[in-house]
């Protein structure tokens, strides 16, 4: 099962169709140095606005970045751990984007 097959009810209610959106290009990016508590251990990390193939923008972290990031880079969606929530350490999974493999 791919992410595109999943029912993303929250996104769908906001006009977000997961099936059309697994690939895109970097619309803008930043390296976050000053993070919130839930993400402090990961800082610095790249946050981006990705322009999906259907034209929509999506806010997500970039992952598996080895070199420089540039606006226009081709990226693809992957499922990753975003953070852990609360004292019991519940894992929050979500989407990130990595450099396109193909």
């Amino acid at each position: 099962m791919t992410l595109g097959d999943m029912e993303l009810s929250v996104g769908a209610s906001r006009g977000f169709d997961a099936r059309a959106v697994e690939r895109g290009t970097v619309y803008s990016y930043t390296l976050v140095q000053e993070a919130g508590a839930e993400f402090e251990a990961q800082a610095p990390y790249y946050l981006a606005l990705v322009e999906l193939e259907n034209g929509a923008l999506i806010t997500a972290q970039l992952t598996d970045i080895a070199g420089e990031v540039t606006i226009g880079d081709a990226v693809e969606m992957v499922t990753r751990k975003l953070t852990t929530d609360g004292a019991r350490g519940m894992i929050v999974y979500g989407y990130k984007f990595r450099p396109a493999m193909t």
Binding site: T30, Q33, E34, A35, G36, L47, L49, I58, T59
Partner: protein, 387 residues
């Protein structure tokens, strides 16, 4: 018809470690009541963005009305992130203009230093879109970084070309004893500053501060009898855009800033060129550039040009005075109190009581208060009362 300001007060913006949210708010409110020579008002509207997140305190209307001797009056918080002060002013304007209340005290207050570090960064993030932005590690500053990088890319602008906005803010703030950071910035330091979320640096982003500011509103026909120098609110508007930047039709257009400013100018019967000064929401320099484009002072993609020559054209007595008291960048960013600080600063200008920050002959001042990266925008035009 019409609404006027007959009292104003504020505390310095500081890290007020030894004082509570209520202490700051009561101080500012009491100054405004004393300035208006009133001991009672019909309503209290509180602009506060993060009381629940920073201070574990809501119901500020009840908390503050009792301490100000206003127990039992209509009193509650108006919230729209950092635009909370501006929307509280709008709420007061509507209440007085409608005749539902004869007088209203508006207090903007934020006490951010009750929490520090990454906990505060998270707390401020409640004003972003939780599902689409914050859960992915977005912060307000990170979203500003995304906006600024795209702006620079689309319009071919370099980081150094934003420098004048911060230089002007600190130059002006150095003259304001209520400002948080009164140091001047040297030209060239801006591009070397430590990055928070590149290209947004420490010298681009406004520093968090604690503070409270207050204004007292009455019907204009009563104002002349109550105060020697009333200040008229001749334009008042709030507009919204999608909360998440990604959902905007065009992220580089501050639609809510444009719509609310256009409405204010129409109400006032003024063109942008008739404004003598602006207090914009310069939490990040890119917001200043985009606001100038939205209000109509620049074409799309050229708002940054006002920062040229180390900000010479936006200095207090130049073409378009911006941030005469230091703006958020130097006076400090008191969160949801910001919109009322802007109002108090404009009142001081229009009454000729701005001291070292005075803009000669200022008669019409536009103040614009932005929540998030343009999600909620409150714009007002204040004017020296009719002669």
């Amino acid at each position: 018809m019409g609404v006027s300001i007959i009292g104003a007060g504020m505390t310095p913006v500081r890290e007020h470690w030894s004082r509570g949210l209520d202490d700051l708010a009561v101080e500012a409110g009491a100054i405004a009541l004393r300035d208006a020579d009133l001991s009672h008002v019909d309503a209290l509207y509180v602009g506060n963005g993060y009381g629940g997140a920073f201070n574990r305190q809501t119901q500020l209307g009840s908390l503050l009305s009792a301490r100000l001797g206003l127990s039992t009056v209509e009193a509650y918080t108006c919230e729209a992130g950092e635009a909370s002060g501006g929307v509280a002013l709008r709420t007061g304007y509507l209440a007085v203009e409608s005749g539902a209340v004869a007088s209203a005290l508006i207090i903007g207050v934020e006490k951010s230093t009750d929490i520090v570090g990454s906990a505060r960064v998270s707390a401020r993030g409640v004003s972003l879109d939780a599902d689409l932005e914050s859960i992915n590690g977005a912060t307000l500053t990170a979203m500003a970084g995304l906006l600024m990088r795209r702006y620079m890319h689309e319009y071919g602008v370099s980081l150094a070309q934003f420098e004048g906005f911060s230089l002007n803010a600190h130059q002006n703030g150095s003259r304001n004893k209520f400002a948080l950071f009164r140091n001047r910035l040297r030209s060239g330091a801006f591009v070397r500053a430590p990055m928070l979320a590149d290209p947004v640096s420490l010298f681009d982003s406004a520093p968090d501060g604690d503070g409270a500011a207050a204004v007292l509103l009455v019907k204009s026909e009563l104002a002349a009898d109550l105060a020697p120098y009333p200040v008229a609110v001749i334009g008042s508007a709030v507009a919204t855009d999608c909360l998440a930047l990604q959902d905007r039709a065009d992220p580089l257009e501050l639609r809510a800033a444009a719509i609310s400013a256009a409405s204010c100018l129409e109400q006032a019967g003024l063109a942008p060129g008739d404004l003598d000064a602006l207090e914009l929401h310069d939490a990040y320099t890119v917001l200043t550039a985009l606001s100038l484009e939205a209000i109509g002072f620049s074409e799309r993609g050229s708002g940054w040009e006002w920062a040229r020559d180390e900000g010479a054209r936006i200095a207090p007595n130049a073409d378009l005075p911006l941030s005469a008291f230091g703006g958020l960048k130097s006076r400090g960013n008191p969160g949801g109190a910001t919109g009322i600080y802007q109002a108090v600063e404009a009142v001081l200008q229009l009454k000729g009581q701005a001291g070292d920050s005075q803009i000669a002959g200022a008669r019409n001042i536009l103040i614009q208060n932005i929540g998030g990266l343009g999600a909620t925008v409150a714009t007002h035009i204040l004017s020296a009362a009719n002669d």
